[in-house]
Symmetry: C2
């Protein structure tokens, strides 16, 4: 089925600012709360939020097989469960409804009043009920940087890294949408040169610049998904700031991996940009040498060209861009991650989320964490206001933005932005 | 509020076999499918499954504030959310309804017909929708055994182990109830002496003898739960076989911990035994030296005396008990695990599950995994049928049982039992 919604020549009757992340070619999916306190599934064009629940009630999806309350829900899980064909039909239909050549909704003031809201009037929610959250570790540059700092500069990559898209399980309960502040975590750390740990506020709170993909129901338990099918099960992508406490991490992570250093918060951008919308930005990933094992081999373009940047905004200050990189640098593709994840029969459900791991590019200004940007705090970053940052300070806001762009169209993610607050402790 | 249901002198008008795990003093909670294909919340007395949804509809819970469909659900999450006071009121009421001195239900044949089923007529389901699953690593003997085998026999325990109840995130999507078979996982392993991995069936599939506890809503995000409150948020416990593939684990687990080696299956016993029912079996845990940090300190009895055993049953064979141990040997208590888990503000919700980690006792016949029992395969275990086991063979059934017992009462968990099947691969 053609993705007619991707036609770069379509214009919407809704105003779309130049360089908007959300032209009519994007049509991402999210969940929002209206002024009337109604939760609904929606999409976004320009600076307008569109109530898909209302559109469905008004019969604009006639002819597409949908359950009656598909969009009158507080998560996208059911819609995502319906699979790729439905996603494509719905996106194509939305494109048609908002095409400047289509007067049906455009000229119906009553309908427009209950369907189209200013984006500033709605409150974005977590778009999916995330059952399981897996975080990968798929940037060679990031893994190498961390290996150099914490292990052996000469053998920075561990022996398994070039063979396995290394990943681990994260915590679903603390995944939050953009805009919700995060408390600096308390935790156990081992002061330098000491042998006894202390308990107190983490001193080394960091961001991790990541993307994540959201899956539909992939498999039944015990069954693998071959790599050539994997992309069919990826609904779309979001930006992810996987907050990390480096001092807690260093003390706790052996031998079972990061735990409290990571699970205090993971912030995501609220609009899921579909893999269909990103189709024009497919590109080849880095050459893999040694060749991966057959179950991880896939010819063709399975990386995506997505520009990413991180800014730190001090309290009452202005944004300081501290990193600019691109998703296309990732060594392991999403297809490889998903094929690996199910290779042992692990069940993956609708609404599960898989993080890329920190995305670091090849140059020092493209690293995806303060740990790498300041090289463990050795090279502080200067802010516009004259202050310095080794890690994130209380009341700093960390903002990740991302977009794909070619000569014809720009498909963006908006942002994930959240402020770090001081710790909160009950005695 | 007194736990009148724990009175050891109460007898039920339902027949309870001698040495049953489910006397009227137990009253565990589960979810089952009746012959009529109705899913309901239930409890068990002797060899009878009791439909709590039907009891509620027939007004037997009058006077207890419950939502109308509290027990007509396919999970216990809502009931667990209601908190300790409700759990206690309901358990006390069930005890009263089935007390031999109470004729109300006993003498009402019509009601009995829709409330009481033979246990063989119902099909047990997963009792909760598990949002997040955390697995701890809290047996000192287990951590020491693993450290001796894989790291340094002289410094078997890592430096953090005596200070932190070490834990990591597991996968919720593959937690299954007793009775469901498990496929031997495929995966990457590094053959001995090689530098290039291969992909194939795991050769070292193992059980892990564990218990797990199920929580109610513990905290809001960003807020910790002090250790003296932690037990109030524990609804109850189950037996857990945390299936593991040792060869996959060895190759994949550095530096982010076990992933595919563990997430192919975790089997649990279907009846959640409440912490209230286990109250008579409180005991002191091992002395902790060094003293834990203040946020992990708690006076009193916070371990539980629960006898545990594991049996392997070859295809068409008889059970071979391979390990007998006790939950009371655990170094870190459930209170400490939960206080640690929330110490950074990590949200814990109703229906979350936390595994103990492999429970190994002090003697070689009390170790909680084949890895330890056979010391990495060096000392195979003899089965009754003359065959040997280093790890688990295809078509073996692994069964974990557990119970607490004193002079007056026996409170048991039943069992978690599942068969290992050959791998399943789509090409």
């Amino acid at each position: 089925m053609p993705i007619t919604a991707n036609n770069p020549h379509i214009k919407s009757w809704l105003d779309v600012p130049a360089d908007s992340d959300f032209p009519i070619q994007n049509i991402p999916f999210g969940v929002f709360l209206t002024k009337e306190n109604v939760v609904t599934v929606g999409t976004r064009i320009g600076d307008y939020a569109i109530d898909l629940g209302a559109l469905q009630q008004l019969n604009y999806f006639e002819g597409i097989e949908l359950t009656d309350d598909m969009f009158m829900q507080d998560t996208l899980n059911d819609f995502i469960s319906d699979g790729k064909k439905t996603w494509r039909l719905v996106r194509n239909r939305i494109s048609d409804i908002f095409n400047e050549t289509n007067p049906k909704l455009k000229d119906n003031t009553k309908h427009r009043e209950v369907v189209v809201f200013k984006i500033s009037e709605v409150e974005m929610q977590l778009p999916v009920l995330i059952g399981d959250y897996t975080d990968f570790y798929s940037s060679k540059e990031h893994a190498t940087n961390v290996g150099k700092m914490f292990r052996d500069p000469e053998n920075a990559l561990l022996p398994n890294w070039l063979h396995i898209p290394v990943g681990y399980h994260g915590r679903s309960s603390t995944i939050i949408p953009s805009g919700i502040p995060v408390h600096r975590p308390m935790g156990q750390t081992l002061p330098n040169g000491e042998t006894t740990p202390v308990f107190g506020p983490s001193r080394l709170v960091d961001f991790e610049l990541e993307t994540a993909f959201i899956t539909t129901d992939v498999n039944i338990m015990g069954e693998n998904t071959p790599i050539y099918e994997a992309e069919d099960y990826i609904f779309g992508m979001v930006l992810l700031n996987d907050w990390s406490a480096r001092d807690i991490q260093k003390w706790e992570y052996v031998p079972l991996g990061p735990f409290l250093a990571k699970n205090f918060a993971s912030s995501i951008s609220p609009w899921i940009v579909t893999l269909d919308a990103l189709e024009p930005f497919r590109t080849k990933g880095p050459k893999q040498n040694p060749a991966p094992l057959p179950y991880l081999q896939l010819k063709g373009k399975h990386a995506f060209d997505i520009n990413l940047e991180v800014a730190i905004t001090p309290k009452n200050g202005v944004p300081n861009v501290v990193s600019q990189t691109n998703f296309k640098y990732m060594y392991w593709s999403m297809s490889q991650q998903l094929a690996h994840h199910t290779s042992n029969g692990c069940r993956v459900n609708s609404g599960d989320m898989m993080g890329s791991g920190t995305i670091s590019g090849p140059t020092p200004d493209s690293f995806g964490s303060m740990l790498e940007l300041t090289w463990g705090g050795k090279n502080p970053i200067q802010m516009n206001d004259g202050s310095e940052r080794k890690f994130i300070n209380d009341y700093d806001t960390v903002t990740i933005k991302g977009y794909s762009k070619n000569n014809e169209v720009r498909i963006g993610f908006g942002e994930v932005s959240s402020q770090l607050l001081p710790p909160f402790v009950r005695q």
